[in-house]
């Protein structure tokens, strides 16, 4: 059913169709309206076999879901920015406990200075947690990502938390016509959550045991194995989704003009704008391709190597930075393309909601291709540092 809704609702509606048993969250801009929508559905009795809990913090929200997930419940939360950082202790733990909690993360900058606006710094900070991270370009993709997230996370070969990352404000607050899925489509696609091991008095297992040095490392190896298996399974689920929904979002990557020698690489909603930028620059005679990276963890190294192996120049648009080094995506991409000869230009831009216009991006890319633009921050004003 096609309907014009905001990004929040596209996520909330998809969550409802996945029939979660426990939903728990704490308000934070720009996430709040996702769980407000779910709270309304709960209040109206639209969520069966479900408990909606208003936690006292994101930390508590994630903790409640750890207990619920270990007891065999399908769980959902949404958070971002400070909330995600506050959750981080629990999320690292949930990943290690192999609990397939699904999280919607409308990306937002990190304090200080406080900023409610968009960049990707929050989810990047959880890069090493053992959480699958998928970045979406628009609200239909966000809507479609939720059932896929459950299917992948809950698969016995994976059992890891799954984070759907969507740009805060740029997507969450935007109205878009969305093809809202039918319940029957999701029911056919997503099996009920039936974990093999869960907390029950019928078979009293102990969860969250500690591991001394003789066995700790093996649990981390097992998590890495799960990430590796997730990589293959995700491709399969993405294809299956295309069959079910008729929409093809690509695999871990979507590559436009793969035969190019020059590429722009980016994640999230900025890709929507870049599609147009690339078309226009090609019309100027620039042989430019575009890589939309969807999966950030597990990182699709092989796919990137196969598409970008022959590239001469790669321009990475980073909306987060590992302070003291460089843009997060650039770091990952350079590592993935080690041994290849492409020049990689890392552009850090759009932090804390700094607007990115089409002209600005076009100029940057044009200049970078002409060799007139080096790696670094783009779009930041000149300033003199003072201590008042």
């Amino acid at each position: 059913m096609m309907k014009v809704v905001r990004g929040f609702y596209s996520v909330a509606h998809a969550v409802k169709l996945c029939k979660p048993n426990v939903i728990c969250a704490y308000p934070i801009t720009p996430q709040t309206e996702i769980v407000e929508n779910l709270a309304e559905m709960y209040a109206n009795g639209e969520l069966e076999n479900c408990r909606y809990i208003t936690a006292e913090s994101e930390f508590a929200a994630a903790s409640i879901l750890v207990g619920a997930s270990a007891t065999g419940a399908r769980t959902f939360t949404a958070t971002c920015s400070q909330g995600l950082i506050l959750m981080s202790e629990v999320l690292f733990n949930a990943a290690g406990m192999r609990l397939p909690i699904v999280i919607a993360n409308p990306n937002r900058a990190i304090s200080a200075p406080l900023s409610i606006w968009n960049d990707l710094q929050d989810s990047m900070a959880l890069r090493d947690a053992g959480i699958i991270q998928l970045y979406v370009e628009n609200n239909q993709e966000a809507h479609d990502a939720i059932p896929q997230a459950y299917k992948i996370a809950e698969d016995q070969r994976v059992l890891l938390p799954f984070m759907v990352c969507m740009d805060g404000f740029k997507l969450t607050h935007a109205y878009e016509p969305i093809d809202l899925l039918d319940q029957s489509v999701v029911d056919n696609f997503l099996p009920p959550f039936k974990p093999k091991a869960y907390m029950t008095t019928k078979k009293p297992l102990a969860f969250g045991c500690y591991a001394p040095p003789h066995v700790y490392m093996e649990f981390r190896v097992a998590m890495q194995n799960a990430m590796d298996r997730a990589k293959d399974l995700m491709e399969k689920v993405f294809r299956e989704w295309t069959e079910v929904s008729g929409r093809n979002w690509g695999g871990h990557l979507e590559v436009i003009y793969p035969d190019s020698k020059l590429f722009v690489v980016a994640m999230g909603s900025i890709v929507g704008l870049l599609r147009k930028v690339v078309e226009d620059l090609r019309r100027e005679g620039i042989n430019l391709g575009l890589v939309k990276l969807r999966t950030f963890r597990p990182f699709p190294v092989e796919e990137l190597r196969s598409y970008l192996g022959d590239a001469e120049k790669i321009i990475v648009l980073d909306r987060s930075i590992s302070l003291g080094y460089e843009g997060n995506l650039s770091i990952e991409l350079k590592s993935a393309l080690y041994g290849f000869s492409a020049e990689i230009i890392s552009m850090i831009l759009g932090l804390g909601g700094r607007d990115l216009s089409k002209e600005f991006l076009e100029n940057l890319i044009r200049n970078a291709i002409a060799g007139k633009e080096a790696s670094g921050f783009k779009g930041a004003k000149d300033f003199e540092e003072v201590i008042p």
């Binding site: 048993n21 426990v22 728990c24 076999n49 479900c50 408990r51 809990i53 208003t54 936690a55 006292e56 913090s57 930390f59 508590a60 929200a61 994630a62 903790s63 409640i64 879901l65 750890v66 207990g67 619920a68 997930s69 270990a70 007891t71 065999g72 419940a73 202790e89 629990v90 733990n93 406990m97 907390m199 029950t200 008095t201 019928k202 009293p204 297992l205 102990a206 969860f207 969250g208 045991c209 500690y210 591991a211 001394p212 066995v215």
Partner: protein
């Protein structure tokens, strides 16, 4: 079927395990245990050496109440409430200091029996002070020195906090009163909502006492009114463990290494006098003294 196996790693004479065995027996093993990081977790839940015979979860130090809320709500959502009660077993530091998810549990009144195993310090990491460490105790982070004689703050009144939250059932007990623990846990199991039971658990290593003296020292805490054994239902005091001949606090303090400085330092007398005043106030507040005919 045993609920808590032998072969666990607790120190000989540990009060925690006596308390835990009686809690689990009171519920006939029909329970889900959420345990915070700490002594109990370390002695019972090493991978492959698990001591638990009931479903058990350890997540973190600071989130045990919230994890228990999640279990309780999941059981409701999945219509499996009949399987058993949700019990938190958390230490005093995990309860009074770092584990503030406790207030959300009270606030939303989840059906959880929260049991604080109070051995009055972070004993697992080697006896550091917690919010439930009593006044005057020497710990490794509040050591008795030339200037300061141990912890100069007071023991946090978690009972009052639980009552203020509107908890339907709040009680204290002691590892030296196994029958009292069982009665109170059974009672709590019959009440819907977030219950709080704080159990005083003697710690041989932290307190510096011998296994043989565990029960004697534990009883002295009660007999001096330093650990009032009380029971509240819906905020009303419904029972107290009366004291026949209240003993001076010195009798409780003296056998324990953690209070030894109070008897060697000349200024210790003032601290002991203050501890006596705390005991007197407890006795008056809860009416602990058995009136002589």
């Amino acid at each position: 079927m045993k609920f808590f196996g032998r072969g666990h790693g607790a120190c000989p004479g540990c009060g925690l395990t006596t308390a835990v065995r009686n809690v689990l027996n009171a519920l006939d093993g029909r329970c889900f245990v959420a345990n915070s990081t700490g002594c109990l977790e370390i002695i019972s839940s090493q991978y492959g050496k698990n001591a638990w015979g009931v479903p058990y979860i350890h997540s973190l130090f600071d989130n045990t109440a919230a994890v228990a809320c999640g279990i309780s709500e999941a059981l409701k959502a999945l219509k499996r409430e009949e399987e058993g009660k949700v019990v938190v077993l958390a230490g005093d530091g995990a309860t009074a200091d770092i584990g503030l998810t406790l207030h959300g549990m009270f606030d939303r009144n989840h059906d959880v029996i929260y049991i604080c195993l109070d051995n009055e310090a972070y004993q697992n990491t080697g006896h550091q002070q917690s919010g439930l460490t009593p006044f005057g105790e020497s710990t490794t982070t509040t050591p008795a020195g030339k200037l300061i004689l141990g912890k100069m703050g007071r023991k946090k009144d978690m009972v009052a906090i639980a009552i203020a939250h509107g908890s339907p059932y709040v009680a204290t007990s002691s590892a030296v009163l196994p029958a009292d623990i069982r009665r109170k846990v059974k009672k709590a199991a019959g009440i819907e909502g977030a219950k709080y039971i704080q159990i005083h658990c003697p710690c041989v290593t932290g307190w510096g006492i011998d296994g043989k003296d565990v029960v004697k020292v534990g009883n002295l805490a009660i007999e001096t009114a330093l650990y009032p054994i009380v029971e509240f239902e819906n905020g009303k005091l419904i029972s107290v463990r009366k004291i026949k001949d209240r003993k001076p606090v010195e009798e409780y303090l003296k056998p324990q290494r953690r209070f030894r400085h109070l008897f060697t330092d000349p200024r210790g007398k003032e601290v002991i006098a203050e501890i006596q005043r705390i005991a007197d106030r407890n006795a008056e507040k809860y009416g602990l003294d058995l009136k002589k005919e």
